[in-house]
């Protein structure tokens, strides 16, 4: 009896030790993840002078200043980059939603000749890496005289075969009877799509929207190819520009302020829609 109790006691002790190790390891990991964020916020509040005078950087700010944020908006056209990215993200995402919803609806609900063949073609396009088509797209947009225009930025990013596929799968789960019921009541196809299918598939559409917004906000390669005029830079290109010639190479605090401003929208979006985003990314994870 006593023996058994003792055994149990050590078992519990071992469990506790294990759980402490678990939490310690996770905390270290969290620290590694968060440290760069901490550092950028911290540095952004240091004055230029105090930053450069700290040979051993300090972990706290003694004299916080918002001067860096002012410079971020005045010395470089950060607000401009911001508006550009904002517009680019909104328009691209909205256009994409229209295109993929129509296509997914056609695949999921309409019966037409050649449907299976086109769908097979769509699926095979899913394997094609973007890097392969970017070359011709660059030439196409250049030939169309659309460099340094919003259209040039937006057009090649409007379709996503993967999202069409994701949405089609979702649309197909809506029972056929709902469509028949709507038909009996004289609902047109378009109205059925707008009033029934889209609302029912709302979670998937939100997921796709969020993923696309993240993708647009962070896109770098295509905008870099297609814009060389500062007035059309997106934030990623802006950051690169700032780094290479913005404040003069050494004004690190001002750079960090710009970085904070650029990172903030998505982080806020993430903290608000945390669960939706994480569920969406893990569901949409098949994207290759």
């Amino acid at each position: 009896m006593a023996n058994e109790a003792k055994k149990k006691g050590t078992g519990r002790g071992r469990d506790r030790a294990k759980s402490i190790v678990t939490y310690v390891l996770l905390s270290i990991w969290a620290l590694i993840v968060l440290f760069p964020f901490y550092w950028m916020v911290l540095t952004s509040f240091k004055s230029y002078g105090s930053y450069n005078s700290e040979y051993v950087p300090r972990f706290v700010v003694t004299d916080p200043t918002v001067q860096n944020y002012k410079s971020a908006f005045t010395e470089v056209p950060l607000a401009r980059y911001f508006t550009n990215t904002f517009l680019f993200t909104i328009i691209t995402t909205a256009l994409m939603l229209v295109v993929i919803i129509l296509a997914a609806y056609a695949f999921a609900r309409l019966k037409f000749r050649g449907k299976n063949a086109v769908f097979a073609l769509f699926l095979s396009l899913m394997m094609i890496p973007n890097e392969l088509v970017v070359i011709t797209n660059y030439v196409t947009i250049t030939n169309w005289d659309m460099r340094n225009t919003f259209l040039g930025l937006i057009l090649p990013s409007v379709t996503s075969v993967f999202y069409i596929y994701l949405l089609k799968e979702n649309f197909e789960q809506i029972p056929e009877e709902l469509y028949k019921a709507a038909k009996v009541d004289g609902t047109s196809d378009l109205k059925y799509l707008l009033k029934v299918m889209i609302p029912i598939s709302q979670p998937t559409i939100i997921t796709i929207t969020i993923l696309k917004v993240i993708e647009c906000w962070n896109s770098y390669v295509w905008p870099r190819l297609i814009t060389d005029d500062r007035n059309h830079y997106l934030v990623s290109n802006g950051i690169q520009e700032i780094r290479e010639s913005g404040f003069g190479r050494d004004n690190v605090p001002a750079m960090m302020a710009a970085v904070v401003v650029i990172s903030l929208p998505l982080i806020i979006l993430f903290l608000i829609f945390r669960k939706k985003i994480m569920a969406g990314v893990s569901r949409g994870g098949l994207k290759g």
Binding site: A181, K183, V184, T187
Partner: protein, 367 residues
């Protein structure tokens, strides 16, 4: 409103594309559904009854034949122009809309001079809701309701457009036994109150018999018989209809007519038909047996099941076909003297049917 189907036929291409034969779902249907009745369209699964319903509703177009609502030919009209309401087997409620919005949905499709104002719509919705008694559930979503409640919402949604014809596809199949009983009475009540001609599809004969004014029995796309439920039950046109209606089902024996008398094995169970000598199927309803010491038909007693109101005698007879045991239902007060061994029955002529061995059509000759 009267519904008339004339030579209605629907053929589908075979699903297996390599086979070029067609599947005939509905074959040369000629039916006149009387005005203002509750009509049960009855048949085993896969017999084409849902296709028939879809044809009436307009979701499918017939390969041949015509459909009339009263005197209007509606064969080529799309569903929304036919003025029909339809309730689907799984209810097909829009999951993202509340009950109120679900019921209102059909009204919002009205165009031109039919267009309703917000107040009119609300009024119509409340009327429909009251009729099916769901006024307290108006702001719930379908997922927050029981199957029975969803069913009522579906009916309300079908009724709100004031259809000339209400169609229900297997309305009770998704409900549990208790709710099924309750809901079928509910359907009866609603139909009685609205007087809308109503057609419902079912594979459950008891369901159809219990509430219909009129039933249509079909199998493999072919119409077998129609009429008032009791008439069809009492005077089945053929062996299929006789077997399909009634629980427990009719007992079918291989029998013979000799010199006008009907024999099952060596037992003569009925004398004096006007039929010539021939082999026949003999059908006896379970309630057609009278337990009698010197009865005409001898069977091996297997079990006696007491069911309260009446007693079911389970026994065997070599001539029986289609099922392992003969089932006879007799009033509970009848004393059962035989314990094991043989039981003997007399047969009530009204519950006795003879069918042609080949065509399985009923043979007249028993009074």
């Amino acid at each position: 409103m009267k519904v008339v189907l004339e030579h209605l036929t629907k053929r589908f291409p075979n699903r297996n594309k390599k086979i070029h034969t067609e599947v005939v779902a509905v074959s040369d249907f000629n039916v006149e559904i009387p005005d203002g009745l509750l009509v049960g369209l009855l048949g085993p699964s896969g017999c084409g009854k849902s296709t028939a319903l879809n044809l009436i509703c307009g979701l499918e177009t017939p390969t041949e034949g015509k459909i009339f609502f009263d005197s209007d030919d509606v064969t080529d009209l799309p569903p929304e122009k036919r003025g029909v309401g339809m309730v689907f087997q799984n209810y097909a409620l829009y999951p993202h809309l509340t009950v109120r919005k679900n019921i209102m949905f059909p009204l919002q499709n009205f165009k031109g001079e039919d267009k309703l104002t917000k107040e009119q719509m609300n009024e119509r919705v409340m009327q429909a809701a009251k009729l099916v008694q769901i006024e307290e559930l108006m702001d719930r979503k379908p997922s927050e309701m029981s199957g029975g409640q969803q069913q009522r919402v579906a009916i309300a949604r079908a009724l709100v457009k004031m259809p000339r014809l209400l169609l229900l596809d297997e309305p009770l199949s998704n409900l549990d036994a208790r709710l099924r009983l309750q809901t079928r009475e509910e359907i009866r009540r609603i139909q009685t109150e609205t007087h809308i001609t109503t057609v419902f599809v079912t594979h459950d004969q008891e369901e159809a018999m219990s509430i219909s004014d009129f039933i249509i029995v079909m199998k493999d796309g072919v119409l077998h018989q129609m009429g008032k439920p009791q008439d069809v039950y009492d005077r089945p046109a053929n062996l299929f209809v006789a077997k399909f209606l009634g629980t427990p089902p009719i007992n079918v024996f291989a029998g013979e007519v000799k010199k006008g008398d009907v024999y099952i094995g060596a037992d003569c169970i009925y004398r004096g038909t006007k039929l010539e000598d021939r082999e026949v199927w003999v059908g006896i309803r379970p309630e057609g047996f009278i337990l009698k010491k010197d009865g005409a038909l001898t069977c091996d007693l297997k079990a006696v099941e007491v069911m309260g109101r009446d007693t079911s005698i389970v026994c065997e007879n070599e001539a029986l076909t289609g099922q392992p045991t003969v089932r006879a239902i007799i009033p509970a007060e009848t004393p059962i003297e035989t314990k094991g061994g043989n039981v003997r029955f007399d047969i009530k002529p009204a519950k006795l049917y003879l069918f042609d061995k080949q065509t399985e059509e009923v043979l007249e000759g028993i009074q």
